[in-house]
């Protein structure tokens, strides 16, 4: 069973910049798939497209068997998303943010209240529930984002650099929640900068470079790409400045 099927996908921006070029990829249900790439590689654009926020220029994306162009609302009902940047409502407190997230999804009030309490407790956020979003640390905001993704009981979790800027304690909480989600049959699509995170969590890892899939690997294969190149070595070569050529 396929959770995400991407075929010959090209994504572009209104200014003409191409973010992702003819990318094809298939992710199975129950899999944790990691996407590694440098800044500007196209990871966030790909994540936005899978979350139905960006329309493909060419090609197609199927999420849980549905096309992102045709069935966006139905897809959104079954996914949980943690975007790269927090999108918390700064006019509401923590509890209200979580409750409204459930209400936007059409969840009945009582169920929403129960789920919010459960996740507040699970992520150890009970002490801050009426605090303004402005006063929270980056780690706490990220935990609320994670709680939001889980609240609607998704089948597929889409995480865009979820641990960026987190201290090791919060990162461990995040990893634990991801592992538990997978144990319950969930699928995870995760983009990250950190090799260690990909190696720790993922079943398969794709390397995205300049909008194209440069290779695939598994932690079990020692993070070696099909070309034989080590992932870390690949990134070292990618960021190395071009040699100077004398005139």
């Amino acid at each position: 069973m396929t959770a995400i099927k991407i075929e010959a996908l090209t994504l572009g921006y209104p200014n003409g910049r191409i973010a992702v070029r003819e990318l094809s990829l298939s992710i199975s249900r129950g899999e944790i798939f990691g996407l590694l790439g440098l800044n500007g590689a196209g990871k966030s654009s790909l994540i936005k497209a899978i979350s139905t926020l960006l329309r493909p220029h060419l090609g197609s994306i199927q999420v849980l068997g549905m096309d992102t162009r045709q069935q966006a609302a139905r897809i959104k009902r079954r996914i949980g998303v943690v975007p790269q940047e927090n999108n918390l409502d700064t006019r509401l407190d923590i509890r209200q943010n979580l409750l409204f997230h459930c209400r936007y999804a059409g969840m009945p009030e009582r169920l929403a209240a129960a789920r919010v309490e459960h996740w507040l407790q699970r992520l150890n956020l009970q002490g801050h529930t009426e605090e303004s979003i402005f006063r929270l640390s980056g780690g706490t905001k990220r935990k609320i984002m994670l709680a939001k993704a889980f609240l609607t009981d998704p089948e597929l979790l889409i995480l865009d650099e979820p641990s960026a800027g987190l201290d090791p304690g919060v990162r461990d909480v995040l990893w634990e929640q991801i592992r538990q989600f997978r144990q319950c049959g969930g699928t995870v699509f995760l983009s990250t900068h950190y090799l260690e995170e990909a190696e720790e969590l993922c079943d398969r890892i794709g390397v995205l470079h300049q909008g194209s899939l440069a290779g695939m690997t598994r932690p079990a294969d020692g993070l070696r790409l099909e070309s034989g190149l080590d992932v870390a070595e690949f990134f070292r070569q990618a960021v190395e400045p071009a040699p100077c050529v004398s005139p």
Binding site: Y13, P14, N87, R91, G106
Partner: protein, 252 residues
């Protein structure tokens, strides 16, 4: 509908949290306008005590009706842009059209609430009661809808919504002073009269005058309602297009 009501409830919670500011904006400000222009200036005018008051009060209600959608909708778009909350709304399991219509609905509701509050103030301060409540409801609904769509269009055409907000504030100033809010259309000579007929505030103000004082000077009701309806119909596809263009391919 559930999504629209939730979005509206969010605005209510924020208005309650900012109770002092909400009170100043929705009650104190129009009350001062009604006191100064309706009561004080009204008594100084040569056409008799309260005469000008009856002309200016519907105009003050109109200002409240047409400016309410700017507050409601720009709150969504500006918060949505600067704090990325728009992404939260776009990720809700509803269509893009539902998000658009929900925000327009919030703008319309804020117009209705403002009309009720300022109408109540006009009754309390000037003793004005609408003679035709049906027409009042039609004009407030039409005006609220028209301005909700206009706000959406103007705020979403520039890349950043705050640029649109500045543009809309400029438009509002022109529409307020030239759009028959502080005087009736009958008081104007050409070419100002023709210019006023191009501004939607004229139709809202004159419509409210027709609802409050059917015997007083105002535009004929049928062309007035037709004008409001036609402009609203023309604005709908334009505002929906601007929303789809800016947020259907979400690059904020």
């Amino acid at each position: 509908m559930r999504f629209a009501l939730t979005l509206l409830y969010r605005n209510l919670i924020i208005a309650r949290a900012d109770a002092r500011y909400t009170f100043i904006r929705t009650v104190l400000q129009p009350a001062i306008y009604l006191l100064v222009f309706g009561l004080v200036v009204g008594r100084l005018m040569p056409n008799g005590a309260g005469g000008y008051g009856a002309i200016v009060a519907p105009g003050i209600i109109a200002i409240s009706v047409v400016s309410a959608p700017l507050i409601a909708i720009s709150s969504y778009l500006l918060t949505g842009y600067y704090f990325r909350t728009m992404e939260e709304w776009l990720l809700a399991p509803v269509s893009l059209r539902t998000v658009f219509l929900s925000m327009v609905f919030a703008g319309l509701c804020s117009s209705l609430v403002n009309a009720l509050l300022v109408g109540g103030l006009a009754w309390a301060i000037l003793g004005l009661v609408p003679q035709s409540p049906g027409l009042l409801l039609a004009v407030v609904s039409g005006g609220g809808l028209l301005f909700s769509l206009l706000v959406m269009l103007v705020l979403l055409i520039p890349e950043r919504p705050e640029k649109g907000q500045e543009l809309f504030a400029l438009l509002m100033m022109v529409m307020t002073f030239l759009g028959c809010t502080f005087y009736s259309l009958e008081m104007l000579d050409e070419p100002l009269r023709s210019l006023a007929l191009l501004l939607p505030t004229t139709y809202v103000s004159e419509g409210l005058r027709a609802a409050y004082l059917p015997a007083g000077p105002h535009l004929a009701v049928r062309p007035l309602l037709l004008g409001l309806g036609l402009v609203t119909l023309a604005l709908y596809p334009a505002a929906a297009w601007a929303f789809r263009r800016r947020l259907g391919h979400f690059t904020w």
